[in-house]
Structure formats: C-alpha cells, structure tokens
C-alpha cells in the first residue's frame, strides 16, 4: 500500500501563548516539532507498510526550516519526503493549504491512503484532512483510533462523542487519526545521519513544480483572514464543596446542572 502522510511543523507547546499587544503567536524560544498527532499518523503508515509493503511519503508545507520534520520522519522510517516551500504559499489559511497539499498529492499520483493527524496544536481547526479529501474527491474517515487495511479497503474505528463507529471505506481514502491509535517510534541516530545527508530522499517543490498560480495559494488564495487573535479573559472562580463524599457529589451535580453543563445520557 502506498501511503502519503501529511505532517506539519508546530511550536512545541500545547499552551501556545499569544502576544497580548500584537495578537500574534509567540514563537521565539519555542522549538518546532512534528505536530503530535501527525506522528501517530506516520507511525500508522509505517506499521502498514511494514506489514503489507509499499512506500511511505511524508508531505509537508512550510518554510525551509520545516525540512527538520521531514528529516525526522525519514529517520523514523519514511521512504520519501516532500517539502512544499515557496514564498507564494505563505499566509495560507486552511483552504489554501488544503489546495496546495491536494495539488501535491495529485502530482505524487500513486497512493492508496492519505494519513493525517486530526488537527495541529497551533491551529486546532481539524480542517486540513477533510478539505484535502474533498479536493481529491476521495472518502474521508476522521477521528480514527483503530485502523486495519484490507485489499482495496480500510476498516476504521472512529471515536465519536458518545461511543465509537466501525466503518469501512474503499481506497484511495483519507484518514485522520487520534493519538490513541498507537505509540509512535522515535527517530534513530542512524536514521538521522542518513536523512541529513545531501543525498537523502527529500524533494522541495515550489509553486512552479505544482503548476499553481500565486492567486490560488498562500494569503492570496485564502478565503479567510485573521483579523485578530486574543486570549479570552475568563476569570477563574473557585468554589469549594464540603461535606461527606456523597454530599459533595450531590452538590457538584447540582452546580454543574445549574451551569447547564451536560452530564451525558
């Protein structure tokens, strides 16, 4: 099975802080890493390849430094890396990003499965996977926590709010995964030695390679624009409950009800 894995470089923090003055993300001093859920997607791809053969290609769009993530992915075991990097890709919203990634996957041609993390920790939109699937006109399975491959099909367990769903889809198909899917391996030293050598199997594609026009991608190709980002100023309000465990539990349930917090069925 030939697999394309979408990986994104993100700041290494789950609490991305926002500069209150400018509204921008504070990235200084924050190391870039492969988006955590993308590592699970890559691990799934590597396991499938190890069992069934085929080739794993990692695909990333980002500035030149994003090549680090591709080197790491190769050192974990991916066969080929492609970085989409061009000034015209800059400032892309999820629409423009999906378009660019979709074009690249079309160019790769040979694929049965596209794997991606559910969402990136620096944006939390969970839109890229589904939009890429739409662009490619293939089925999508999101929130996958178990994945099996068959001849010409995948069978997945999707985590839903109140349970899970077993679902089968024909290939080619796009799957977005949760971190509960597997335990990703680490890149090895030997792998990193190979993946940082000049002859490592990494390609860098720009706009011309994809045959896109500047107005289709990047900021110009985006349907949305960030007007302002800010940290909501929710004041924390601690309420202490006292009494026996049973009494505390009853008070807690009342308090949650009063705030109209759903307690499940």
């Amino acid at each position: 099975m030939d697999i394309v894995v979408l990986v994104k470089q993100v700041p290494n923090t789950t609490e991305v802080r926002i500069d209150p003055k400018t509204g921008n993300l504070i990235r200084e001093g924050v190391e870039s890493i492969i988006n955590p859920e993308d590592r699970h997607a890559l691990e799934a791809a590597l396991q499938i390849r190890d069992n069934t053969g085929g080739k794993v290609t990692v695909l990333s769009m980002g500035p030149p430094q994003a090549i680090d993530g591709i080197c790491e992915a190769l050192a974990m075991g991916a066969d080929r890396g492609i970085l989409l990097s061009d000034r015209i890709f800059a400032g892309a919203d999820t629409w423009a990003t999906s378009t660019t990634l979709g074009r690249a996957i079309r160019k790769i041609e040979q694929f049965d499965l596209v794997l991606a993390g559910r969402q990136a920790v620096d944006g939390d939109t969970a839109q890229i996977g589904p939009q890429v699937a739409e662009y490619l006109g293939i089925p999508q399975l999101t929130y996958v926590q178990k994945l099996e491959v068959r001849e010409g099909a995948v069978i997945a367990e999707r985590a839903l709010e109140d349970g899970c769903e077993h679902i089968e889809a024909p290939t080619p198909v796009l799957v977005t995964v949760l971190s509960s899917l597997n335990e990703p391996r680490y890149p090895t030293v030997a792998g990193l030695i190979d993946s940082t050598r000049p002859r490592a199997p990494i390609e860098i594609w720009n706009g011309a390679d994809l045959g896109v026009k500047a107005y289709e991608v990047g900021l110009a190709g985006s349907l949305t624009q960030v007007v302002k980002t800010f940290t909501p100023k929710g004041a924390r309000n601690t309420q202490y409950l006292e009494g026996s465990p049973a009494a505390v539990a009853a008070q807690l349930i009342d308090a949650l009800r009063k705030k109209e917090i759903r307690l499940g069925e």
């Binding site: 890493i33 790491e72 890149p187 030293v189 990193l192 940082t196």
Partner: protein
C-alpha cells in the same frame, strides 16, 4: 571558530531531548525512590542507537563522535541523570573493547553492546585503590590457558545488571601500574558474583555494587590487548569518560536552571513574581554564565577528541568545571524554590543529590586538578604551545 552544530547534530540532540522528556523525566523520581533500574529503557536506548555512539558502523555503532555523544548525554541527563550516567559508562566500555580488542572480541562483545542487547560496566576501583587506582590488588594468576581471578572490586556502576565487565586486575606484582591488565568478564562466569545494590545519596536508578571474584577462571582470549596494558586502557577510557560526565552535568545544571527559572516567573511574593527581585536575577545570571562556560569547555574537549588531538587537560578541566557548576546550580535551584525546593514533591532536591556524585567519580575533582596541574607543569615553566 564555528559554534554551530550541524543539522545531524541538531536533530540527534532533538531526538534525545524528546526521548528524555517523554521516557525518562516522568519516571526519574520513582526509579530513584524505588532503586529501580529499567532494562526496558536501556533497550529502548539501544533501538534509538544511543548505545554505540562512537563505535564504527561495521561493529553496529553509529560513529557520530564525541561531540554528538555529549549532546545526547546532556539531553538524557535532563530527564534522568542516573540513566545518562550508566549509558556513558556503557558507551565507554563498548568503545574500549572496540579500540583495543581483537576481531573476535569485537564480534563477540562490541556488536551486541553497540546494539544495546548487552549492557557494559567498567571496574577499576577497589577498597584500598580509589584515587590511587594503580594500587589495585585483585589478582589474576595465569593457569591452564587463562587466569584465575581473586579479589573484590568496589562501586561498579551497573554491577549485577550489566552483562559485560571490563575489569582491571593485577597480573604482575613487579610494577605498580604496568602490572595491571584488563579482562573482559561476562556475568554468569563461575566464581564471579555481585554484592548488593549499595544504598546511595542519589543515582539509585543506576545500581552500584561490588564484584566478587572467588577463584574465577577467565580464559585468556578475554584479555584486552596484552598483559600490563590495563592501566593505560583504564586511563584512556576515563579521559573520554570525563567528557561524558561533564556533558551529563551540564544537562543536569541546565535542567535545574530551567526548572528554577520557570518557577521564579510563576511564584509571587511581596506582590510580584520573585524573578523580578534583583537578588534572584543575579543568581540566574551567574548560573547561566557558568553553565555556558562549562558547556563550551566540554564541547571543546569533545571536539578535540573527535579530531584525534590530545585533550587530557581539556577533558579534566571540562569535567571539573561542569560538575562543580552542576553542584552550585542545583544548590541554588533549591534555594530559589525556597521551602518547596527542599521538598521531595519538587525535583530540584533530587537534582542536587545527583550533582554531588559528578564531583567524585571518574576521578574526583581533586584528581582532575592533579591531571590539569601535571599537564601545565610538564613544560617546566616554558609557555604551553597554542592549542588553537
């Protein structure tokens, strides 16, 4: 002079950092309290190729060199100093056999050691031979195509859990240091037993035990090099070992610093974060400066060794400074956390206990000064040649 790491070094450091953060740091306290050595973690480090860092590829190492190895040890020490330390000893022994062993010995020991299937230990110290290691008395007497070994070795890192031991023994009484040889002894050899895990001030995730030799027969194919070369081997190994301990100590100091700094930003007293008090800012400034100095010295010694240059003095200086800095910085970190720093529910008191051993093993810091002074005085007052 270029202070930039290569992409390879940068990404290997990052992999080590990630591993350390996810696999070591969350467990370090529990391992320390329960005196638990995790074989599983050693095997994981083997899978990541941390077990043969300066052994060539043909013996299943990665040969990334001393500087890259120092980066790995530094990162691992941030998560668990004890784990980083025993891994450095393992790498030291693997390299020792690789450097001086025969083809058969490399096949037999270096490959499984480099792959992380076997764990290595190094045994020089004895009860009456610590700093004066050449005074060791564990005897190896030639008999029937091998040696009969008798005696007790002290304070062996990974004693009992290691599979392969490089043991310095006395094969001749004629000379002090030239009567010492290195035997490779495998766990399970009849007549070879271990004392209990010593209870220590810190570093308890890394067992330290005695080795007991009681008429233990070691075949002659287990001697490293030739008779009489053992002390030289032991000292050469320690030279690299000092760079490694320096690297671990830099990592430990950095970890304590990072923890204390984050704490000082959050902790409020007198209506503001304590980091805003100049008294603490100056402490942080000194800590940062000293950590940086230690790191540069350790990296410099490692680079010299990678280039095949003599670095006896530089390695000793790096070890001396880095371990003293780690002691000071971890002590200051406890101070900066105030009463919380003294509590076991915070990690800095553990860092402080870890730091102390760095000043003692692989040659005490007094012995480092002996080494440094020997190098300085060997020119009899003439100017030392420029090393740059």
């Amino acid at each position: 002079m270029d202070f930039k790491l290569s992409d390879e070094q940068r990404l290997i450091r990052k992999a080590a950092r990630d591993f350390s953060f996810k696999e070591l740091a969350p467990n370090a306290r529990e391992w320390e309290e329960k005196h638990h050595f995790s074989r599983e973690v050693f095997e994981m480090m083997g899978d990541l190729d941390f077990t043969g860092l300066y052994v060539p590829e043909e013996y299943d190492g990665t040969n990334v060199g001393r500087l890259t190895a120092a980066l790995v040890f530094e990162e691992l020490a941030k998560g668990c100093y004890a784990t980083a330390v025993y891994l450095t000893v393992h790498n030291m022994v693997t390299n020792l056999i690789c450097q001086y062993g025969t083809e058969e010995q490399k096949e037999r020991w270096v490959k499984p050691l480099a792959r992380g299937e076997k764990l290595g230990a190094y045994s020089l110290t004895e009860a009456e031979a610590g700093s004066d290691a050449a005074a060791l008395s564990t005897s190896a007497v030639r008999k029937n195509g091998g040696y009969v070994v008798n005696g007790t070795k002290l304070y062996v890192t990974s004693g009992g859990v290691a599979d392969v031991y490089a043991v310095m023994v006395r094969t001749s009484d004629a000379h002090k240091s030239k009567g010492i040889s290195t035997l490779i002894v495998e766990k399970g050899t009849p007549g070879f037993a271990f004392g209990p895990h010593e209870a220590k001030m810190g570093l308890n995730a890394s067992p330290t035990t005695e080795l007991h030799f009681n008429n233990c027969f070691v075949p002659e194919e287990n001697i490293l090099g030739a008779e009489g070369l053992g002390f030289n081997f032991a000292m050469t190994a320690l030279n690299g070992g000092r760079i490694n301990i320096g690297a671990c100590s830099v990592g430990l100091a950095q970890q304590a610093f990072d923890y204390a700094l984050a704490y000082a930003h959050k902790r409020q007293q007198f209506g503001k974060p304590i980091v805003s008090f100049q008294a603490l800012q100056f402490m942080f400034a000194d800590m940062a400066t000293e950590i940086d100095a230690a790191r540069l010295m350790v990296y410099r010694a490692a680079s010299l060794m990678d280039e095949g240059e003599d670095c006896m003095m530089e390695a000793a200086m790096g070890k001396r400074l880095a371990t003293d800095v780690a002691m000071r910085v971890t002590t200051d970190a406890v101070q900066i956390l105030g009463g919380y720093g003294y509590m076991k529910s915070y990690p800095v008191e553990m860092y402080m206990r870890f730091a102390k051993i760095g000043q003692i093993f692989e040659g005490t810091n007094q012995i480092q000064r002996v080494v440094i002074a020997r190098e300085i005085t060997k020119y009899k007052g003439r100017k030392r040649p420029d090393s740059y």
